[in-house]
Symmetry: C2
Amino acid sequence: MVLAEAGGLCEDRRTARPRSPDFGGTRVALVRLVIARCQVDYVGRLTAHLPMAPRLLLVKADGSVSIHADDRAYKPLNWMSPPCWLEEQPGVWTVRNKVDESLVITIDEVLHDSKHELGVDPGLVKDGVEAHLQELLAAHPGVLGEGYTLVRREYMTAIGPVDLLCRDADGRSVAVEIKRRGEIDGVEQLTRYLELMNRDPLLAPVAGVFAAQQIKPQARTLAEDRGIRCVAVDYDALRGTESKDLRLF
Amino acid sequence: MVLAEAGGLCEDRRTARPRSPDFGGTRVALVRLVIARCQVDYVGRLTAHLPMAPRLLLVKADGSVSIHADDRAYKPLNWMSPPCWLEEQPGVWTVRNKVDESLVITIDEVLHDSKHELGVDPGLVKDGVEAHLQELLAAHPGVLGEGYTLVRREYMTAIGPVDLLCRDADGRSVAVEIKRRGEIDGVEQLTRYLELMNRDPLLAPVAGVFAAQQIKPQARTLAEDRGIRCVAVDYDALRGTESKDLRLF
DNA sequence: ATCTATATTTCGAGG
DNA sequence: CCTCGAAGTATAGAT
């Protein structure tokens, strides 16, 4: 490995730790960090060029390569997503994928080069996304309208699933679209569902409710113009109602 | 700096190089790479937890902090975008931002810790995005339809600019929406424009053309159902027509 | 500041 | 494998 020798190599020396499942004999999953003066040329979905400058090259075990500057938060200047393959020549790295996109990294000087074994990550536990909001509203349809009852979650139509299908106090169908943030896209989506469902004589008439933690003014205007009722949902309050024994932060 | 001492510190020792413009006296922009066994808790737009495991911590000069596993391409498991502030305590990093989102990184063991000066990146040069496609189609409206002529690029309406306004062979107005990849959103967008423009007696009737390098089947179906014609554009061929002296890949 | 449209979006689920 | 919807989307441009 040419460039590994060029920089100050710092290999991890830790021993017994949960191993990556693909660790059988010779290959160990490693993340590799290189600081180098480099130039980058990408040809693929677009064409992009980075002039020679010092940057961070991050090579992960999944095969991905990303080129970072010391800015733009976590987004790299340039990258190649897996599956892809890195070929190292002295002074030139070439990363290629199946559809023949390529990233050519011309390296002028290596300032640091180290590898580190991380193993398989136990993974992220999330809470508070749309799924949970849907779950809570399904359990408490009264929040959407007085006397509402749930008919079905993920009610399937020809063009996709409606988040909730409810019935109002008078027994009429209501299609509910749930978003964390209510924007125009969501209104359009619900409009398509309503258009389709109202053509079905077994369902029609179907009213619409657009529920979100926060609804943008333009989305609200568009929705109301189309006769769709908007409901701003207080997620934390709803979660509090749901279970008092749930630990809150 | 507590943790810098704990790991094997490798500071860059390079000297004369173009400096960051914000380099005045004491502060130099550095990227910091830490490999550590850590646990992460994020509370903000959602709540997320990462159990203790070895990971890469990337701290950039813009203040951002990102936590990477050895997979998922360039996307970190968790992060905090600038502007935000990192407070280091022995064994605990706390990253906080203005709206009081927080990222708490509990560090069990530091396996590597280095800092590197990169300076300001000269930046990325791109080519081949939607703007270029629009430019090419504006120069060759005949590709959109026999006898089409260009009236205006970015024709402004009350709800935004229509990519191209053309006239067909019979002198009728045609609104053209251009996308790299034609999806349902684009059809909705064009539909809104057409609805509005067809209310204007000076323009009506206005036909619609949806042009893209690739048009998804659902988008095509929706468009055609609404009387919008779809045109698949061969970008490379069009670019070839545009200028023979342009180097092709 | 708000809103719109784009992104080499990435990522995951479901057919 | 595609197709679709969600994302702590982020980001840039226009109003």
